[in-house]
Symmetry: C2
Subunit: 195 residues, 2 copies
DNA sequence: GTCTATAAGGAGATAGAC
DNA sequence: GTCTATCTCCTTATAGAC
């Protein structure tokens, strides 16, 4: 509860996310963000101690939520059903609120984000997700399939260019295609010992 | 035939591509490139009239080759066989010489490249390729599938983390998974008129 | 073809008033 | 919580000598 004036902090985050996604992190200066908000650069520094920290604040709780997802997946058996459920949860998360914009930002600024702590955290999480999605089948093809299912969810925004399509429809299509990819990932033997 | 000294121009391109991919276009200064080559910034400006132009030179002939690919696809019927052949040609191109690094650079610097002419050209071509890959089936799912096949080829570098795997194997796996995605794209009716 | 020197500008960040 | 003013640093790019 720190919003005494009207949530300037949140407005900064919103504008920053938009500009970072549109033009890239490096190409967006603090001056630009400030001007959009009709404040000065110095005002930004009251709310965030650096430019990096704006990105951190953007990524923070997303990272946490993905962690929870991975933890859940680990507690489940490495079956096809688990993988489907995991991806469904992930898609729900991605399509909720303005989550998508954060992922779009992430996808489009990968290189820069490598040198930002927020970026590294996100990378780790996505790698972790991909690993969970092919748990039980460590073949190269399975790894590729797992990665592509994530990308199916992410790319449903720009890859599908049909006009007037709703987010719900995008999600449905992404999951249908992803399911097919998941189906090609094998399950480990049910432990041989059956008599 | 301009290499009087030893292809400084080519050495600049090589180092620039490497650093751009590693750290991002914006984060890589001309000073840095020059230092790696043990020359001064001014020397770079003899070979390229601006930083952008280095990127242009990198992307130039790739764009042309993709154009040829698209032109070829247009001359073919929009069948599954054409799509498979198109993706095979594309994969051959991507895995030839040091092409992969250029695509990796492109994938990782999308946002920045939006404001560079070279970047826009590449974007158009990849969109064109995706369109050709789902020619004859304009359903949203088909568009997503087409996009994912391209990504399958591109991502086979980092998505497959099996050690000691060769490029040939990566390509093979990428195409296998991609084929499955292509199989879900429909073909137009063979023109009804059969008796 | 490569150098030294420098111009010109914008970036992130800080100090301290209000 | 936001301002003005300023610091420091590094960038792309150019001019002209060798």
């Amino acid at each position: 509860m720190r919003e005494s004036t009207g949530g300037t902090r949140e407005r900064i985050q919103a504008v920053a996310l938009e500009l970072f996604t549109e033009q890239g992190y490096e190409r967006t200066s603090l001056r630009e963000i400030a001007e959009r908000l009709n404040v000065t650069k110095a005002a930004l520094y009251y709310h965030f101690k650096s430019k990096d920290e704006i990105v951190n604040s953007l990524v923070e709780d997303r990272v946490q939520r993905i962690d929870e997802l991975i933890a859940w997946a680990r507690s489940q058996p490495p079956t096809r059903a688990t993988r489907r459920a995991l991806l469904n949860k992930y898609a729900d998360m991605m399509f909720a609120s303005e989550q998508p914009s954060v992922m779009r930002f992430f996808e489009q600024n990968q290189t820069v984000l490598k040198s930002l702590s927020a970026g590294m955290q996100m990378r780790e999480r996505l790698l972790g997700l991909a690993n969970q999605l092919c748990q039980g089948d460590n073949s190269p093809a399975a790894q590729l399939r797992a990665t592509l299912t994530l990308f199916a969810v992410h790319s449903s925004w720009f890859a599908v260019r049909t006009p007037h399509i709703t987010d719900q429809e995008r999600k449905k299509i992404a999951l249908e295609v992803a399911d097919e990819l998941l189906a090609g990932i094998g399950e480990p033997e049910p432990d041989a010992a059956q008599d």
